[in-house]
Amino acid sequence: MIFDEIYFEHHKMVLNIALQYVQNMEDAEEITQDVFIKVSKNIHTFKQNSSVKTWIYRITINQSLDFLKAKNSKKSNFLSSIFSLNDIKLKIEPTTFNHPGIELEQKEAYKKIFEAINQLSDNQKTVIILLKIEDKSQSETAEIMNLSIKALESLFQRAKKNLDILLNKKDNYEKNV
């Protein structure tokens, strides 16, 4: 398969998924580039055990999570070198919230929701993004995440519960949404 064909078929999907993880356009574009660099490197070794789309979804999710970890480890190294905060676990979340898919007047409300999502574990975050933002079906999400439907359902219930707890901790949440 030709690279350009794959790029133009999937670049919008890749950018939008990355955007749900990092919530700003610059970082999402950087992730998109990295995803397609990986695709171009591995395109010849790709075994068609899954569809190209599922393969690209997986690369995008892993790349986005790695990007966030790298960004936060840089931040935590810098902070710990200044304040000697070696044992303090820093929250993994993007530095700037500038999601272009959200209207300006609703920005504050969405910022709070995404702050809560960012505090979930990697799998819980991914299940919320795929099912509720990207509107993927359960079977598609299960295939992308390499889980059974049952495992996916239980993961989603845990994610929902944790998100509820995180959001209800915030006093202003109900006023803003």
């Binding site: 356009m25 272009p100 209800n168």
Partner: protein, 90 residues
């Protein structure tokens, strides 16, 4: 109390579903293509740089070794002048 909390989370999901899809910028393709191109040229660049560095080190080593050898020979010849082992009055 729990019911109110559940309604809230469903409202949150409704809000998340209304997040708009974003169109990628047109130059993202060219940026990506350039990034792929640069990925391929960087290793070649480093290979050439490493080869030049090695050649330079070997050259410097060879030069210093040969110049040391010359000065050592000169010093030896001053301390022990060479004789040709020929008897003049044979």
């Amino acid at each position: 109390m729990k019911k109110t909390s559940n309604i809230n989370i469903e409202q949150v999901f409704d809000h998340l579903a209304s997040v708009k899809k974003v169109e990628p910028s047109k130059d993202l393709y060219f940026k990506t293509k350039n990034a792929i191109k640069n990925q391929k040229t960087i290793p070649l660049f480093w290979v050439i740089a490493a080869a030049c560095f090695l050649i330079a080190i070997v050259g410097v080593e060879f030069y210093t070794f040969s110049s040391k050898k010359n000065t050592f020979n000169q010093e030896i010849s001053i301390v022990f002048p060479e004789t040709n082992n020929i008897l003049y009055h044979e």
